[in-house]
């Protein structure tokens, strides 16, 4: 059941993005920005956690979930550190993902060469 919910919720989020790309001529970069900000706003309003509880990775793996992590982090930051937490909370919660992207990105770039498409 967990797997099924992860599949259809995650798939649905991607399908919405695809419809936006095909129908509105929004570029993929804009879609990603839109989705991450949407996730942050939904997370801030406490509306995203129920989706995470229902769909698990179906809600956390899409970039919307990254926005939610940032928002939850900011709220937690304010709870723990007060005003300072506004600036430290979001990035602290997302630190694992950001650092992993940079480190893996760096290593992959050292090891691999780009290839022409056929």
């Amino acid at each position: 059941m967990q797997y099924l919910n992860a599949f259809w919720v995650g798939g649905l989020i991607c399908a919405i993005a695809q419809i936006l790309i095909d129908k509105t001529k929004l570029t993929p970069a804009r879609i990603l920005v839109l989705f991450v900000v949407t996730g942050t706003v939904l997370g801030g309003l406490g509306l995203y956690e129920p989706i995470v509880n229902f769909a698990g990775a179906g809600a956390t793996v899409p970039i919307v979930g990254f926005g939610n992590v940032l928002a939850q982090g900011a709220i937690k930051g304010v709870d723990e550190q007060g005003f300072l937490g506004i600036l430290t909370g979001g990035a602290r919660a997302a630190a694992g993902g950001i650092t992993a992207s940079i480190v893996f990105g760096f290593l992959m770039a050292l090891f691999f060469k780009p290839k022409i498409k056929s």
Partner: protein, 337 residues
């Protein structure tokens, strides 16, 4: 005087012969319908160079060398070379041709550059300013992608109207003779901008320019499509090709019988996943120099029109929300007499 006819056309007093031409292409182009026509096929995208920019430079250099060699001439016989490409500051030409020591005019007309070069070179020769001149251009899928679009490994989806940048180069050596296919007329195009903003629909952006130049050519010369065996546009792709046919039809010119587009010819559109067809400076350069001119030499075409089509955009203009201005230059080529 007497060389200009109509608004934008020049009739050369002494037609300028295309003494020889050479073409270089990549693996995907080899797999296309014209694959066996190219003089040199590169084994891979790198062609033993460190960067793709270096590869593209080498393509221009080797195409020029080969064309001059086929003409039975020496580098030192060349009075001028006209060259350009799609890379910023035309580094394909600037770096590729630096060791050839031929007086160099760098030109930029986006994908119309080959025909622009042929136009200028033949006017110089007809004007008596040169005995021999070369025109060359190139494009490379990998250099164009990284400059205009996304990194190669980026996971993006192309739209159905997008075109595929041809990895290819073509060079032509011009001189004073009519024993070979020769340029008789030149119609220089105006910049046409119909407000198309979609950089993934180049054919649609360039078709009005091709239309304007072609129509002006017929008006200036009094000729009609029936006077030519082939009307060849550079890289309008399927969308631009169909648009051009419509636009000409609306003006009372039926070009369906003898019209084709380099971008539609160079790939097998059904099997090669190139969406609307090929594009790039190297598209018409390699199709013309590899396929059409040798066919004219064999007598397969008597008179043709070659129209180079270019989109004069940059990544900056695109990001700033500008539309895509189009340009199209035309040369009329007759078979050997």
């Amino acid at each position: 005087m007497g060389k200009r006819i109509g608004k934008q056309t020049v009739r050369l007093e002494h037609p300028v012969g295309i003494l020889a031409s050479a073409s270089i292409a990549g693996q995907k182009e080899k797999d296309g319908p014209l694959g066996s026509d190219f003089d040199v096929i590169m084994a891979d995208a790198e062609w033993n160079e460190e960067t793709w920019e270096k590869t593209e430079s080498k393509m221009q250099k080797e195409a020029v060398r080969l064309a001059i060699q086929k003409a039975g001439l020496a580098l030192s016989d060349m009075h001028y070379i006209f060259a350009g490409d799609l890379l910023n500051q035309c580094i394909g030409a600037g770096f590729g041709l630096r060791e050839l020591h031929i007086p160099y005019f760098g030109i930029y007309g986006a994908c119309s550059t080959m025909i622009e070069g042929l136009s200028l070179a033949s006017m110089l020769i007809d004007g008596g300013f040169a005995d021999h001149a070369v025109a060359v251009t190139s494009s490379h899928f990998c250099t164009a992608e990284r400059q205009y679009r996304m990194p190669l490994e980026y996971g993006g989806q192309r739209t159905p109207t997008a075109q595929w940048t041809v990895t290819g180069s073509g060079a032509a050596v011009l001189g004073k003779t009519v024993d070979v296919p020769h340029i008789t007329h030149i119609t220089t195009g105006k910049i046409m901008d119909m407000g198309v903003k979609d950089a993934n629909n180049m054919g649609g952006a360039m078709a009005p320019a091709a239309f304007d130049t072609l129509l002006t050519h017929f008006q200036d010369t009094g000729l009609s499509p029936a006077d030519y065996d082939l009307i060849l546009t550079g890289d309008l792709g399927t969308v631009g090709r169909d648009v051009l046919i419509d636009l000409m039809q609306n003006e009372g010119f039926d070009i369906t019988d003898n019209y084709n587009d380099g971008g539609c010819m160079i790939y097998d559109l059904d099997t090669q996943d190139v969406h609307a067809g090929g594009s790039g400076c190297g598209c018409i350069a390699s199709v013309l120099c590899g396929h059409i001119l040798p066919a004219m030499q064999r007598g397969e075409f008597r008179r043709i029109l070659a129209i180079g089509t270019g989109a004069l955009l940059s990544t900056t203009s695109g990001l700033q929300g500008e539309s895509v201005p189009g340009i199209a230059h035309l040369v009329a080529i007759s078979g050997k007499e």
